[in-house]
């Protein structure tokens, strides 16, 4: 696979504030990469640097093995879709789509051909003569994608394109973007703070925090084997349950002890030998804990505090090992507060972190 976009040692400073710090990133040809992070982590800034809308303080950007660090946005072979759609309000949809092409002095017949193709792909044919104000949010974002489409670019950049839409439209357009990527096979870089979007769309996810990439992996790896405590807490909703304690050895087998409760670590794939006495954090996802199931080496008693039925699922909050934890069970299994339950854990899906370095062990 060839690299499509390559970022080398990219640094960006606004005065004394370092937004991006020697960031390196290689994106394969045809890959769908999602930059995920909470607001202010530098993900949009990175996208703007790739687009050429911000000048980096240091570092290089390559697109198709061509150094574009000093190039204008229009010469980089990119199309960009913005959160607020950014459609030109005084132009019709057709003029919006063709604006860039008209400026570059393209042949009228070719422009018409490309607009027709884009409007067919996105099914916006009937809207071509309307102004943006007469469109719904979903239609506007489709036109904005079309504007990138007609330019026939190598790389699509999406800056939180679905954040302004309501939940239903968001999931519809999410599927459409995925379909678009499957059909076009372009490289796409997609910025979002929504982990569902990231997990469903991405070939690989880059989780960012304060200008650094914390983990760059495919969605399942990120979900199952988070590299550090931050990623583990960021991905997953409801969030992972964390227990602070230390590694111990019970009958010669590794275990984790917190507040007098012992979790046997049978089945956990550790990166190296687990040293007894190490201060550690155990992470258990709510969906990897079973309630009132068959007995295992780790069967604990706990008391139900609160129940949150969500239709398909039922989330119950329990008091266990001196802290509150959540467990996700089937929507038809109900527990009332105060009920005694038996918990069992699938340790092959658990995560263990060093308490000091916060890295996975």
């Amino acid at each position: 696979m060839n690299t499509s976009v390559s970022v080398k040692d990219l640094t960006l400073k606004f005065g004394a504030i370092t937004v991006l710090d020697k960031l390196n990133l290689d994106i394969k040809d045809g890959e769908f990469l999602v930059l995920l992070g909470s607001s202010g982590c530098g993900k949009s800034t990175l996208l703007n640097c790739i687009a050429g809308l911000l000048e980096p303080t240091d570092g290089q950007i390559f697109i198709k093995n061509h150094n574009v660090t000093w190039e204008e946005p229009k010469d980089r072979g990119i199309g960009m879709v913005f959160q607020s759609y950014a459609l030109y309000p005084q132009m019709t949809v057709e003029k919006n789509l063709s604006f860039g092409l008209r400026i570059s002095g393209m042949d009228k017949a070719e422009i018409d051909k490309r607009v027709a193709r884009a409007s067919e792909i996105l099914q916006i044919g009937p809207l071509l003569q309307r102004k943006p104000a007469a469109l719904s949010g979903g239609q506007r974002q489709r036109v904005a994608i079309g504007r990138a489409l007609v330019r026939d670019v190598d790389v699509f950049l999406f800056d939180e394109p679905l954040s302004n839409l309501d939940a239903k439209l968001r999931s519809e357009l999410r599927v459409e973007i995925k379909r678009l990527h499957q059909n076009l096979k372009n490289t796409m870089i997609y910025v979002t703070h929504d982990q569902i979007e990231a997990l469903t769309l991405a070939d690989r996810i880059a989780i960012m925090r304060s200008g650094l990439i914390q983990q760059l992996d495919d969605p399942m790896t990120i979900y199952n084997e988070p590299k550090n405590l931050y990623v583990a807490g960021f991905i997953g909703s409801p969030a992972m349950n964390f227990f602070k304690g230390e590694i111990a050895s019970v009958d010669g087998r590794p275990a984790f002890v917190t507040n007098g409760v012992t979790f046997m670590l049978d089945g956990y794939r550790a990166k190296g030998p687990l040293q007894p006495g190490t201060k550690a954090v155990l992470g258990l996802r709510p969906e990897h804990i079973s309630v009132d199931g068959p007995e295992t080496v780790n069967t604990h008693q706990a008391v139900v505090e609160i129940e949150e039925p969500m239709g398909a699922d039922n989330l119950i909050w329990l008091k266990h090992a001196g802290q509150s934890m959540s467990v996700r069970i089937g929507g038809n299994r109900r527990y009332s507060p105060g009920a005694q339950v038996k918990l069992a854990y699938d340790m092959s899906l658990a995560s263990l972190f060093d308490a000091e370095s916060e890295l996975r062990i």
Binding site: P73, G100, I103
Partner: protein, 313 residues
């Protein structure tokens, strides 16, 4: 929402069962002569009278003949309406040796106002656009200097400008005055345009750049079509400001180029002969007519433009 609706239905059902259907319902009636209304309309009415009475006196006086004015009741409507003073103010009133009325001053004012307004707005809008959307070296300094410029009293600059214009050889000419008006409009107009352009979504500008539009393409094709309200505001500020200007007109031009305001002053303040109040009133109204018409025509856009700038930036 659904819960609220259900609650209301339940409440209504309870009301119906207890027989209180005749209770308060819908809009609460408000008495016309409440304290609130008296204070509100009283204040508004007083303010309106305060501003309208002088105008009324002027219009009424300008339609009276001199003997009727000498009878002394300035509030009474004219017994015999005459347009003689208006004709005289426009075409016959004397200033110095010329006796062709305000018409010449009107022509001068038009020839001063139109180019000044167009040039100053054009330059200021481009300045504002560059300051709001493009990063360039020295941009902060440039902007600070402009803002400070807005606060320096005009009087300080008059004499230096006279010298500059004299050295350029355009002192006393219309073009000299046009340049002065353009320069003095610059700080406030640039500020106005910068704030307006800064309030437009930044992503539009970015999208246009990705589409390949440069400085001028973005200005003319994206920014200008979105900025009608602020252009109207700038036009109103400039037209009324330049039309009503007296100081620059009297300092920087020769008598044959005097704008209407200066000529009005010369007519009203002439010391020879009888004071013709009716002619003076007519001349004053004629001079104020242009700004008045501008306000009436563009009032709605003016409010919208001010509000648009006020929300953000």
């Amino acid at each position: 929402m659904a819960d609220q609706a259900t609650l209301n239905t339940v409440a209504a059902a309870a009301d119906a069962s207890s027989g209180s259907l005749s209770g308060p319902r819908g809009n609460r009636p408000r008495p016309i002569f409440s304290t609130r209304n008296i204070v509100l309309y009283g204040t508004l009415g007083l303010a309106a009278i305060y501003y309208l009475v002088p105008l009324y006196v002027m219009v009424v006086t300008s339609l009276k003949s001199m003997p009727e004015i000498r009878m002394g009741n300035i509030f009474s409507p004219p017994v015999e309406i005459t347009f003689e003073p208006w004709v005289k103010a426009w075409a016959q009133a004397c200033t110095g040796l010329n006796c062709d009325g305000l018409s010449r001053g009107f022509g001068n004012s038009v020839r001063i106002t139109i180019p000044s307004v167009i040039i100053s707005i054009l330059i200021a809008s481009i300045n504002g656009y560059a300051l709001a959307n493009w990063r360039f070296k020295g941009m902060e300094t440039f902007f600070t200097v402009l803002v400070i410029g807005a606060f320096i009293p005009y009087q300080v600059m008059i004499y230096p400008i006279v010298i500059v214009l004299r050295e350029m050889g355009i002192y006393g000419t219309l073009s000299g005055l046009i340049i002065v008006h353009t320069i003095f409009g610059m700080p406030i107009l640039t500020l106005l345009f910068r704030n307006y352009f800064a309030s437009l979504p930044e992503e539009l500008f970015k999208a246009a750049r990705v589409d390949g539009a440069g400085f001028w393409n973005i200005y003319f094709r994206i920014m200008l079509p979105m900025s009608l309200p602020i252009f109207v505001v700038a036009m109103i500020i400039q037209i009324t400001g330049i039309w009503n200007d007296f100081l620059f007109g009297v300092v920087f031009t020769r008598p044959e180029y005097y704008p209407m305001t200066v000529q009005l002053n010369n007519i009203v303040n002439s010391v020879q002969g009888v004071k013709e109040y009716n002619v003076n009133m007519a001349a004053t109204i004629l001079t104020g007519l242009v700004p008045l018409i501008v306000y009436f025509v563009s009032g709605k856009l003016f409010v919208r433009g001010i509000a648009a700038g006020a929300v953000k930036g």
